[in-house]
């Protein structure tokens, strides 16, 4: 494995983190979906590059799934959902964009510190890939927490999942990657269908039980 192919792998993995940040500051729904499409394309390229340098042809399947499902089918479906529900204007955030971006930087720093220290023995490719992957996972989690709207939460979840696929493909020779990415695609497909069929506009305001208790009259 020469220096250039490593650099390209890093470039693509770093690009994924960058698109995660871009997702954080979108304030229009269509912009969010387009950025997500971009992230899916970057992911697909990254996985394909891994397939190339690891000489693991089965990873091309994962790359293809990422490209077809996440860069084409799901964005198209979500565009239709957004149009039908009429929620294209703004994305309601719980925390402002500025603090979110700062927190995001903190999370990336955290994942760098944790992963680089924990994987001191591993080979450099896997090492930095994992650090990037954890950043993407944490940024996706943060997006799910800071958004009120169900569609943007779903986008957050899918970007989290992109981070996982990056980690799985970066772990050299990991078996079942294709199967796991298929299982995840099923999950994501269910989520999108769920939003579509049940017209879930808002996430149910809060994920804590207290709010639901009020709703059910369970609270004194």
């Amino acid at each position: 494995m020469n220096g250039l192919s490593l650099d390209i792998a890093h470039l693509l993995a770093g690009g994924l983190v960058l698109t995660s940040f871009m997702l954080l500051y979108q304030d229009r729904m269509y912009g969010l979906l387009n950025t997500f499409t971009l992230q899916a394309v970057v992911l697909s390229a990254s996985v394909a590059w891994q397939a190339n340098i690891q000489l693991a042809p089965h990873l091309y399947v994962t790359a293809l799934i990422a490209l077809v499902l996440k860069a084409i089918i799901i964005p198209v479906a979500l565009h239709r959902v957004v149009a039908r529900l009429g929620i294209h204007r703004t994305i309601e955030t719980v925390v402002g964009i500025g603090p979110t971006m700062l927190a995001g930087m903190g999370l990336v720093a955290l994942s760098m510190v944790v992963m680089l220290k924990a994987t001191a023995a591993a080979d450099p490719l896997a090492r930095e890939d994992l650090a990037f992957a954890l950043s993407v996972v944490l940024l996706g989690l943060m997006m799910m927490v800071t958004r009120r709207n169900a569609v943007s939460q779903v986008v957050g979840f899918m970007s989290l999942e992109n981070g996982l696929i990056l980690a799985a493909t970066g772990a050299k020779g990991m078996p079942l990657v294709v199967e796991i990415s298929v299982a995840f695609s099923v999950l994501v497909a269910f989520i999108v269908i769920g939003v579509f069929l049940f017209r879930i506009r808002e996430r149910f305001d809060s994920v804590d039980v207290q709010a639901l208790d009020v709703f059910r009259g369970e609270r004194r």
């Binding site: 994987t119 591993a122 996972v137 989290l160 799985a168 020779g173 369970e218």
Partner: protein, 488 residues
Amino acid sequence: MNLVLTELPPFDALHAVLIIPASAAALLALLPGYWLAARLNALAALATLMAALLLLVERPASRGGYLFVDDLNIVFVVLSTFVGFTTAVFSATYIGHELEIGRLTPRYLRFYHAMYQTLMFAMNLGLLANNIGLMWVAIELATLTTVLMVGIYRTHEALEAAWKYFILGSVGIALALFGTILVYMAARPVIGAGHDAMVWTALIEKAAGFSPELLNVAFVFLMLGYGTKVGLAPLHAWLPDAHAEGPTPISAVLSGLLLNVALYALLRFKMLLTSNPAALSPGPLMVTMGLISLIFAGFMLYRRRDIKRMFAFSSIEHMGLITFAFGMGGALANFGGLLHMTMHSLTKSAIFFAVGHIAQVKGTQKLADIRGLTVSHPALGWGLVVGVVAIAGLPPLGIFMSEFLIVSSTFAREPLLAVLVVFGLLVAFGALMLRVGEVAFGEPVGSTAPVQASYVPLLAHLGLVAAAGVYLPEPLVEWFQTVAKLLG
């Protein structure tokens, strides 16, 4: 002809435990009609239970493939196939009533039965998997099927509960996958790239050589991920809603089985960390989360207005206690944890059997609208009372024994922690006694119509719990002792 036969995979009990529910699911998806489907569902569950018992008697040698049986997972398999069977029997009468009152249509019924068997398949696969990736996929499948079943009534509340469960469950599942990948990364330099580095039997053998830092980070993710599915306190938000809004047989299976499967996954990874001397000890983390769940859920029990939500919180409490026991570790605490898990599964599903029929006859799940059950429906009322007395941990029933074991073994080592555990148990005890007193005694409120209930599963479970409180057979004790030793 001979050639074809040898090409086929060997049909043994190990595969039967998976093949029976899988093929039953396919069949039930096509089969119209309530009468036949409900009976076939129970029959398939019975056949799976038989296969599991066969597996207990004659264990196939590990072939290093995707499946394996050892002392630990066979406990879970037997327990989950048993509760799966009794719940299927209960489900037959329960679903019959739901059809009558039109809450379920025949089309959804087919879907319900197919999903029930798919869930059984997924849980057994998760338990028997010898590969951490396969185990993850199986638990994801189990999550998906339960999400679909929680939302089956299509009411606003049910969809909301399903969606919440879905999102939180997916995040948990995603974190668990990250942890799984990290375990693979830790194993690769030692075992070598490829399939072997995800196989349990290989992992546990060579865990001592893994990078401890990677294992530590991996365990944090696995704890958060699978802990969400166990319903441990800061991550439990999905659990009460999923229990309250789905059909009651599903509440019974969720509480009695699915939480255990997630806990099983956690225990496996705990074993991995324990066998690596340089890695962080997973005990304190589990003890802390278990204690928080126990005490938090104990207090939450007082504020409940919905009978199923109340028992869902009671499940959080008990899963907390079980996690605590396994976190403490040691032969005695592990034994107590295993026994408690078994007793909790049996008791909690029995309670849900009673609650299911009660909610049907009263037409409500509101605690305030259910009064005087022992007067209006003696069998159900007393069944519920016995169940709640058992779950609250009163002697001479089985849960008293396991709680006593856990508390006394903790007291010998960490008296302060034991005080906290007793405090949490007493808080929960008060809440349960308060509510069951209101519900079971006094003037009956609401419908007093006779109820067509299946008492056999209820009696079977409570009978086992009562028997275990008085006398534990020697082979069972020995078996659990071996497992407790295995858990370290």
